[in-house]
C-alpha cells in the first residue's frame, strides 16, 4: 500500500515496535543469515572476558534491518530509494525497540523521512533518514 504524496504532511509520523525483549537467539539468527559471525554478537564468554563488554550485543545491521521493516511497512514494498543510519548506542539482549519515521519533505514523487529508533529507556540507538517513491 504505497503512500500518496497528497496525503502526506511534513511532520507526519509513523511508529512501530520492532522487538520486545530482544533474545540472544535472534542475534544468533541474524549472524547466520547475514554471515557476520563476530563473536561480540554471539559469544558471551569472549565478549565479557576478552573484549570487556557487559554482554553480547546486537549487530548494528540487525537494528537497521528491523528498523527497515517499520519503513517498508509504511512506504510500501520496493519503494525505498535511500536509507541510511548512524548507530548511536549499542543494543543489548533484553532491549525493547521502537522506531519512528517522520516526514521531512514531500515533492517530485519522493517523500523524505527522518528515522529514529529508541530503546526502552528512551535512549536513541539508531538515527538516520530514508527516501521513498510515493504516488
Amino acid at each position: 500500500m504505497p503512500l500518496k504524496a497528497s496525503q502526506l504532511k511534513i511532520g507526519d509520523t509513523h511508529s512501530a515496535r520492532l522487538v520486545e525483549d530482544l533474545k540472544r537467539t535472534q542475534i544468533v539468527q541474524y549472524a547466520g543469515s547475514s554471515g557476520d559471525y563476530n563473536p561480540l554478537h554471539t559469544d558471551e564468554i569472549f565478549t565479557t572476558q576478552v573484549a570487556g563488554y557487559p554482554s553480547v550485543f546486537a549487530h548494528g545491521m540487525l537494528t537497521m534491518g528491523m528498523t527497515g521493516k517499520m519503513l517498508t511497512d509504511y512506504v510500501g514494498d520496493a519503494r525505498l530509494t535511500k536509507y541510511g543510519v548512524r548507530f548511536t548506542s549499542q543494543v543489548w539482549p533484553g532491549d525493547t525497540l521502537d522506531a519512528t519515521a517522520t516526514v521531512t519533505e514531500v515533492g517530485g514523487g519522493i517523500a523524505k523521512f527522518d528515522v529514529k529508533t529508541v530503546n526502552q529507556n528512551g535512549v536513541e540507538v539508531l538515527s538516520g533518514y530514508a527516501e521513498a517513491r510515493v504516488d
Binding site: 563476530n38 514494498d77 543510519v85
Partner: protein, 171 residues
C-alpha cells in the same frame, strides 16, 4: 571486500527476513508476492549486507583449520599482545554508519558482484571509548549486466577501549 558471485536465492531471503523479524509475504511467499506491487519476491532493504557469505576472505567467519578469535576451550582462540579489547575485538571494529542507495529491488535470480572502494578516514576523541578511528568504504553491487543495483556506504570505527556503558546492561 570483493565478492565475485553473490547469487541471490529465495531461501536466503526467507532466512534473512526471518532473522530481522519481518515475515512480509514479499520476502517469504512466492505466490503471495506475485500479487504485490513488487510482482514477486524481493530482498529486504539491508539484504546486500549478506554478501559477506560469498566473500571467500571475510574475516568475521570462522574457517576450517584457521585460528578463530571467539571462545573454545579458552575465552579466545587467539592470543594477541595488544592492550585491551580494542572495542571491536580482533574483528574489524564496530559499525558506525551504513547508507544505501537503491537503484532497483534485489530479486532471486540476480547474481550480484560487489566491489568496494576505500573512502575517507578520520579520527575523533570519544568520551566513552577513547580515541576513535573512523574509516569509510563504498560498495557497488552490480547485476549480471553490469548495472548498478545498490550502492552502499559503510563507516567502521575502531575504539581505543570498549565503549563505556551509561548504566550496567541487563540481560
Amino acid at each position: 571486500m570483493a565478492v565475485k558471485d553473490f547469487p541471490v536465492e529465495a531461501s536466503h531471503i526467507l532466512m534473512f527476513a526471518r532473522s530481522i523479524g519481518d515475515e512480509n509475504v514479499v520476502y517469504t511467499d512466492a505466490e503471495a508476492a506475485k500479487q504485490t506491487e513488487a510482482g514477486g519476491i524481493i530482498a529486504p532493504p539491508t539484504f546486500v549486507q549478506a554478501s559477506a557469505q560469498f566473500d571467500p576472505d571475510y574475516v568475521l567467519r570462522p574457517k576450517p583449520g584457521q585460528p578463530w578469535f571467539g571462545s573454545g576451550g579458552k575465552a579466545t582462540g587467539i592470543t594477541r599482545a595488544t592492550s585491551g579489547g580494542g572495542g571491536g575485538g580482533n574483528g574489524g571494529g564496530l559499525h558506525a554508519e551504513q547508507h544505501y542507495e537503491y537503484h532497483r529491488p534485489v530479486r532471486p535470480g540476480d547474481v550480484l558482484t560487489a566491489k568496494t572502494f576505500p573512502g575517507k578516514t578520520w579520527e575523533k576523541e570519544g568520551k566513552r571509548s577513547g580515541k576513535l578511528v573512523f574509516s569509510e568504504s563504498v560498495t557497488e553491487y552490480r547485476d549480471q549486466k553490469g548495472e548498478l543495483v545498490v550502492t552502499a556506504r559503510g563507516v567502521g570505527v575502531r575504539t581505543e577501549r570498549p565503549v563505556e556503558q551509561p548504566a550496567p546492561a541487563k540481560a
